[in-house]
């Protein structure tokens, strides 16, 4: 199932389209760009989302899902601070610095409709699933961004 997803992105492991290997990596100087097509990009976005939010088989059994809360806690991220959360993921998921506006956009995907001042009270002090929901929304927005594709 995973290999099917990679195949959709243009990476058919061990079975390239022909003996020349994967199509993307030849004609210089654009070799690093030729693989980027609407389909491949969209599939990359899709698999990022699938890996994060979980993927079920045909019998509705959850096959995998990133435990985002456990991850944040084990990394020692200060969950009480939206600023700290976004800073951590921007530093770790993006190859280069982003603008303040862009940072604010990602922060808004974490907060959704909660004011920053109310974050602890409205999210952290409620149920875990609320925190997970907000964190997943942030990560999803980040890994489905063009910046992440350049990582």
């Amino acid at each position: 199932m995973i290999s099917e997803k990679f195949r959709n992105q243009g990476l058919d492991f061990y079975e390239p389209f022909d003996v020349s290997g994967y199509d993307a990596y030849y004609q210089e100087p654009a070799y690093n760009r030729n693989w980027i097509t609407a389909n491949n990009l969209a599939r990359r976005y899709q698999i990022s989302s699938d890996l994060l939010l979980g993927y079920k088989d045909e019998n509705d059994n959850l096959l995998y899902r990133l435990d985002i809360l456990w991850y944040c806690q084990s990394e020692g991220i200060d969950l009480n601070s939206p600023q700290a959360i976004v800073t951590y993921f921007v530093d770790n998921l993006f190859p280069e610095a982003i603008t303040a506006e862009r940072f604010d956009y990602f922060k808004s995907t974490l907060l959704i409709d909660v004011a920053e001042a109310d974050w602890v009270e409205a999210v952290i002090n409620v149920e875990d699933f609320q925190v997970v929901f907000h964190l997943e929304n942030l990560i999803n927005a980040m890994i489905q961004s063009p910046e992440y594709q350049l990582f």
């Binding site: 030729n34 389909n39 969209a42 603008t99």
Partner: protein, 548 residues
Amino acid sequence: MQRRRFLKNLSYAAGSTFVLNNLPFSTVSSAAPLSQLAATSTNDRVLVLIQLHGGNDGLNTIIPIDQYAEYYQLRPNLAIPDKGKRKYIPIDSGLPDANQLGFHPDLTHMKDLYDHGKLSIVQNVAYENSNGSHFRSRDIWFMGGDYDDYLPSGWMGRYLDHIFPGYPESYPNTTMPDPLAIEIGNGVSLAFHRSNGIPVAISIQNPDQFYDLINSVGGEPPESIANTHYGKELKWIMDIEEKSNQYAGRLKDVYDSGANSPNVTYPELYPFNAPPGRIRNTLAPQLKMIARLLSGGVKTKIFIARLGGFDTHAEQVETYDATMGTHSALLYHISSAMKAFQDDLKSLGLEDRVMTMTFSEFGRRAFSNGSYGCDHGTAAPMFVFGKMVNPGVFGENPDLSNLDNGNLPFKFDYRQVFTSALVDWLEADAAAVEATLFSDWVDRKLQLVGNGITGLKEEFLKKRNFLAECYPNPVSSQTTFSFRISAAGRVRIDILDTQGRVVKTVIDEHREAGQSTIPADLSMFRQGTYLYRLTGKSIDVTKKLIKL
């Protein structure tokens, strides 16, 4: 969770620059002024290219009948037989003896298209110093250069870039609401790359799925981009996303409003023996989708469809029967899918607008190997389909006793074929041809398009399928019917009265392609005027005779 989009429409002030963290940033450019727009595509013609991926074995596709002994000797384990039920199909009895050709027995549909003047065959196409590497050779065909050129753009990309200036910023727009080109599959080949910026094509597998996919992923794009290497790469991705987003909905609309003809069935399976992975016809759904998009009104100029599996180093044929197996199935797929596509286009009233060409990165060696296959070669035939083609065979049979280091010597450069598609079919003007970098080929281009030269096709068909005046006529008792047919099959000659009633059937039998002479005794006929009608696979003609 909020609804996400692949990329929201961008609307920023153009050209302003600011500095952040000592990096100069420039905003993403807004739509270019419409004054740049000069969509110069003056016609509604469409070019469809079918890439035979892997290197097609031309010698088993069209067999040089005049050199059958040499052919057999070069490849006894692959050779298509000259006898029996599955022997090659003689293509055209009107060709000179030295250029007599036979189709692979699974190319019956292509034979039919040929007989109806909808197919031309170009023999021995390659380029100087043919490169035996799949990827390098493919690059050469796509970029439209010489063996030692390394262009970052493709010939179709350069052409479309010229006739649709201002891509991508000014597109889509009212005159060109669709992708300039569509490549079916996941990738966009070098063919559609431009010197600067994203390629002119987008790749799709199915418009509905594409729309759903694009609408299920993505988020807000950044509003400013660093003027750095990173920023340039970021812009590349964003441009592709933006075009995908813009075109996904339109393609879905066009696809949903279009339809294939209800009278045409596209083939699904190879009816004989081949490895399981080759039985299914993967070309047919691609062509079917193109026909449906066209019927829905898509204005895309160039499509690339692809059929893989031609890299037949081993098991090209079944060990017990050289007329079946991988290569046979692939040929059947092309032939049957193209027949359905042409029939569909005809039924949809689109036949005048579409020309289709096959090409492959190279042909294969003249001699076979011990694995029931053959290795990378050089020259191979190309096939050009369409109502408007100049039908027939271009070039001569390869001389099998005079091979070039085991390869078929090439006679036509691939750009002689593509330049005809560009100039004669797409009607590119001199400036467009220059932008495509094909100016040097204009004088040498083949005349693959028959439109504008009235009677060319009629002449082709008449030469190959005709009913002569019976002789003598008027008839006192005996007369002789003479005819020529290009397709073997059931043939019938009826004599009818002026009310159209059959009064005598002279013949009703199987006839091989070629010339036939049939004597008939009409001594019992009453005096008067009669009609005689010849019907066959490729002919239906009625003429008049007088009985004295």
